[in-house]
């Protein structure tokens, strides 16, 4: 019933997705030079940094020269709040968005009319690569407002020629009613919200599998392959991962295609690099590191080498869907989550992988770092779940040592595993704090 990748019709608006690499690079270089010139001419911070590094826009002669440019960090947006990084006068800015700052001031992003066109183009191509087109009825449950998700998806879906329901987030019962009554074929929201919606639908006696819904366009938070299997199994839809961030444009930076094997970056607008997060130098081809993006088409707020903090790698091999756009692996962790223990870089997600491998599902856990006699100690506390609980001491001790062994093997660091009582790990707003670092307090 489902067509294979190669049988999907190519949307003419997606033509750039299939550009031969040499032409893509020529286009990228021309746009990069224009962007750097614009940033240097109109944004004080970029000019100051480039002058300090002794690099001028004329020095960018090849794409490889991009590494001569300074990085931009989130803190730069905060320090220049609200309008300090704008390269266009406000007369040309037609839209402002802001992302919620978890600490202090939010960050503000600006768009000219042309920038909105670039964003719309990227989101149209995102929707097309998720197999959507004219005739689809798209329920857009991303929040409308200062958050870029709602309007980004909205403009893209409209430009696609699909029918958009701008329902925004929340009011789950109404979402389910609309999904059913309007014969919705695709939904845009966060994957966790969709899981919540599935639960609620079951409570209401609505079987999502029996509705025309066939596609989920999910983003705005990292989610795992096992979550995808859960979503697809429970709802019978295809769940696609999309990627974006407000600093770069909002949603539409990258998207999965029918192959669901990595996210194509719309690199005619957003130029990707992968760097070592500690040294800042580019990693070898195909290796994992922090994703850095330079905007190539944006006017109001060009971003030079923006450090996303997202950890991924650029895939070298071509994609079966035929797109020539390079792909990144799905993002499952951020460089700010990383901690170092006894000289080894560790991500909580690696611990998760090990726990998942032993138990089958992910239990609640917490990593506690302490320092004893000058030596760092890592303890992983794991809540006992019904599936692994036993009346036999031996079985519980075996579980404890299996978990420790799996983590040791994944990390290459010795850890202690302590089984703890259910619900004993503190949760804040439903989320558990994964890492407690007590090393500096002692």
């Amino acid at each position: 019933m489902t067509k294979t990748c190669q049988e999907w019709e190519i949307n003419p608006a997606s033509a750039t997705d299939y550009l031969p690499p040499v032409q893509m690079q020529t286009l990228q270089l021309a746009r990069l030079r224009a962007t750097v010139t614009r940033a240097y001419d109109y944004v004080g911070l970029y000019r100051r940094r480039m002058d300090e590094m002794g690099v001028s826009p004329e020095d960018i002669r090849t794409l490889a020269d991009i590494t001569r440019l300074p990085f931009t960090m989130k803190v730069d947006l905060r320090d220049t709040y609200p309008f300090g990084l704008f390269a266009s006068p406000l007369q040309e800015v037609v839209r402002l968005h802001a992302s919620s700052g978890t600490t202090g001031k939010p960050i503000v992003v600006a768009y000219t009319q042309e920038d909105l066109g670039v964003w719309t183009d990227a989101m149209l191509r995102t929707m097309a690569s998720c197999g959507l087109g004219r005739g689809d009825i798209i329920q857009n449950a991303y929040g409308y407002g200062l958050f870029t998700g709602g309007l980004g998806a909205h403009y893209g879906a409209e430009a696609l020629g699909a029918t958009v329901i701008p329902i925004s987030g929340g009011n789950t019962d109404r979402q389910i009613m609309v999904m059913k009554d309007f014969k919705v074929t695709a939904i845009c929201c966060t994957p966790t919200y969709f899981l919540h919606l599935l639960d609620r639908a079951a409570d209401m006696g609505v079987d999502i599998r029996e509705l025309p819904l066939r596609v989920g366009v999910f983003g705005a938070e990292p989610w795992s392959d096992s979550m995808r299997r859960r979503i697809e199994g429970a709802s019978g839809i295809k769940a696609y991962d999309i990627y974006g961030l407000s600093e770069i444009t909002g949603p539409g930076v990258g998207s999965e295609c029918c192959c669901q094997a990595g996210l194509h970056i719309f690199e005619d607008h957003f130029y990707p690099e992968i760097i070592d997060p500690t040294t800042g130098t580019p990693v070898a081809d195909g290796e994992e590191g922090e994703l850095v993006i330079t905007t190539l088409s944006k006017k109001a707020m060009p971003m030079l080498r923006y450090r996303t903090r997202d950890i991924t790698s650029l895939m070298r091999e071509g994609c079966a869907c035929g797109r020539t756009l390079r792909r990144i692996k799905r993002i499952c962790r951020r460089s700010d989550d990383m901690f170092i223990i006894r000289g080894v870089n560790v991500f909580p997600s690696q611990v998760e992988t090990a726990l998942l491998a032993v138990e089958g599902t992910l239990p609640h856990y917490q990593i506690v770092l302490t320092r004893e006699g000058g030596l760092d100690r890592m303890e992983v506390q794991v809540e006992v779940t019904p599936a692994v609980s036993s009346d036999k001491v031996g079985a519980m001790e075996k579980l404890q040592s299996k978990l420790a062994q799996a983590i040791n093997q994944t990390l290459g660091v010795r850890v202690d595993v302590r089984l703890v009582a259910p619900q004993s790990i503190k949760r804040s707003e439903g989320k558990a704090q994964r890492l407690i670092d007590r090393r500096n307090m002692q």
Binding site: S390, D391, K392, M396, L419, S424
Partner: protein, 147 residues
């Protein structure tokens, strides 16, 4: 012939044992017997309760992970060698005793022991074939009813 045993996971730290006991006490649930298996880091509390379904519900509601296991109550003569004779039944068999504990009461000339077998049905057949009294649940609760 099998009896339902509840077990819960406890961390090895102060007041962990008090909470479930108080919870059951407040609901008027009488614990017939219990045993606590402990390790350096955690303990497993095993309980025999006549209204085990109610107790399991209460504990689960309070957030405990409750395991229900089928165990076997066996009557053993209260004399030297009584237990050794009983264990003889399982010599040269595949039946494995995971653990055992006694009811905390004296009852004339016999004692009742709780056995956790890896295969309770096979164990019961063998015990009965050897003429050993396997005590059913209602009988156990009756017998241990304080006079």
């Amino acid at each position: 012939m099998k009896i339902h045993q509840l077990s819960i996971f406890l961390e090895n730290k102060p007041s962990q044992l008090t909470q479930p006991c108080r919870l059951l006490a407040e609901a008027g649930v009488d614990i017939r017997t219990l045993t606590l298996a402990d390790t350096e880091r955690f303990g497993i509390l095993r309980l025999i309760i006549s209204d085990w379904e109610k107790a399991a519900g209460l504990l689960e509601q309070a957030g405990y992970v409750v395991n229900v296991t089928e165990v076997v109550a066996v009557e053993v003569p209260d004399r030297p060698g009584g237990l050794a004779d009983l264990l003889n039944v399982f010599e040269d068999t595949d039946t494995n005793i995971e653990y055992m504990y006694a009811f905390t009461f004296g009852h004339g000339e016999t004692a009742v022991l709780i056995f956790r077998f890896d295969n309770p049905d096979a164990a019961i057949t063998r015990l009965q074939a050897a003429g050993i009294n396997v005590v059913g649940s209602s009988e156990v609760y009756q017998r241990i009813q304080p006079a």
